[in-house]
C-alpha cells in the first residue's frame, strides 16, 4: 500500500517535470510566447491547464485501482463466508446421510424427513450439476426421490441397494466438495 502511494507521488513528480521541460523547450523555440504580460499569462495558464489534465488523469487511474482493490478484498470476504456456509451445509448433509444409511442397515425404511433433507441440501450444494440431465449428481438425486415416492419401499423389506449406493456416492461428492471448500477458504484467509 505504501509502495503504491510512493509510486503515485513519483508519477505526479515525473509528469510535472515533463510538463515543465516541455514548457521550457516550447518557450525557447517560440520566444514570442512570452513577449508581453498578457501573452505570458496565457502561455503559463495553458501549461498549467495541461499539467492539471495530466494530474486529473493520474488521480482517476489511482482511484480506479483503489476501487478495484477494495472490490477484490470484498470478494475474498464474500467467498470466505460462502465457504463457511457451504461447509456447514456439507456437514449437515453428511450427518443426514449417515442416518439414512443406518436406517437401511437396520432394515428400516428411511424416514421421509431424512430423505427431504438429503435432497434439499444436495440440490443446493450441486445446483449447477442438477441442471444437466446426464450428470451423476442428478441421477443420485433421482434415486433418492424415487425411493421417497415408492410405496413398495417400506413394505417389501428388500434392501434398497440402488438408494444405498446413491447415498454413498452423494457422501463421496460431499467429501470432495468439503476438501475443495476447505482448501479454497484456507487460501482466501
Amino acid at each position: 500500500m505504501a509502495l503504491f502511494k510512493q509510486n503515485d507521488k513519483l508519477m505526479h513528480v515525473v509528469s510535472f517535470i515533463i510538463v515543465l521541460l516541455l514548457s521550457i523547450v516550447i518557450v525557447i523555440l517560440e520566444p514570442s510566447l512570452l513577449k508581453d504580460a498578457p501573452t505570458s499569462l496565457g502561455t503559463i495558464g495553458s501549461f498549467a491547464t495541461a499539467y492539471g489534465v495530466i494530474f486529473a488523469i493520474l488521480e482517476l487511474r489511482r482511484a480506479k485501482a483503489a476501487s478495484q482493490q477494495a472490490k477484490d478484498e470484498a470478494k475474498k470476504v464474500f467467498f470466505a463466508v460462502t465457504g463457511l456456509v457451504t461447509a456447514r451445509e456439507i456437514v449437515e448433509c453428511q450427518a443426514t446421510i449417515q442416518l439414512a444409511v443406518a436406517s437401511i442397515d437396520e432394515g428400516k425404511a428411511i424416514p421421509s424427513a431424512v430423505l427431504c433433507q438429503v435432497t434439499r441440501l444436495y440440490s443446493q450444494l450441486f445446483h449447477k450439476e442438477m441442471i444437466d440431465e446426464h450428470s451423476t449428481h442428478r441421477k443420485n438425486r433421482s434415486f433418492i426421490e424415487s425411493y421417497s415416492h415408492n410405496p413398495n419401499a417400506s413394505s417389501n423389506g428388500a434392501v434398497p441397494k440402488n438408494t444405498k449406493r446413491a447415498l454413498i456416492m452423494i457422501s463421496s461428492d460431499l467429501g470432495q466438495l468439503q476438501g475443495a471448500t476447505k482448501n479454497f477458504t484456507e487460501q482466501v484467509i
Partner: protein, 105 residues
C-alpha cells in the same frame, strides 16, 4: 386414472422410450425414473396385498414441483396403457434391444 390432458403425453413417453430417445434407470423396489431436461419421470407398480389390486404410480417432477397420478387395475384401458409403458421402460432400463442385437447372428 390417467388425467385427460396427460394421455397424449403418456403415449408420447411410451413412443419415445421405445425409440430410445428417453433413457430410463432402475431404482429400488420395481421403480424406474427418467431424467430428461429439467423434468424427472418416475413410474412404480404397486400391489396391495390386503385389498388385492394393482396400481401404477406415475410422477412428473419439474424444478422441484411434483405431480402424481395413479392408475388401478379396475380402470382397464388406462391400466393397459400404463402396463405397456412400464414394460417399455423395463426394456429401456435394461438396454435389452442392444443386448439381443446379435442374438440371431
Amino acid at each position: 386414472m390417467i388425467p385427460k390432458n396427460l394421455k397424449t403425453f403418456i403415449n408420447q413417453v411410451q413412443l419415445e422410450t421405445e425409440k430410445g430417445t428417453l433413457a430410463w434407470s432402475q431404482a429400488d423396489s420395481l421403480a424406474f425414473f427418467c431424467d430428461h431436461k429439467n423434468h424427472t419421470l418416475h413410474i412404480t407398480p404397486f400391489y396391495d396385498d390386503d385389498r388385492g389390486y394393482s396400481t401404477y404410480y406415475f410422477r412428473i417432477v419439474t424444478n422441484g414441483k411434483s405431480s402424481q397420478f395413479s392408475v388401478r387395475d379396475d380402470e382397464e384401458d388406462d391400466f393397459s396403457t400404463m402396463r405397456h409403458l412400464y414394460e417399455a421402460v423395463i426394456i429401456s432400463a435394461n438396454n435389452v434391444v442392444n443386448d439381443i442385437s446379435n442374438f440371431f447372428d
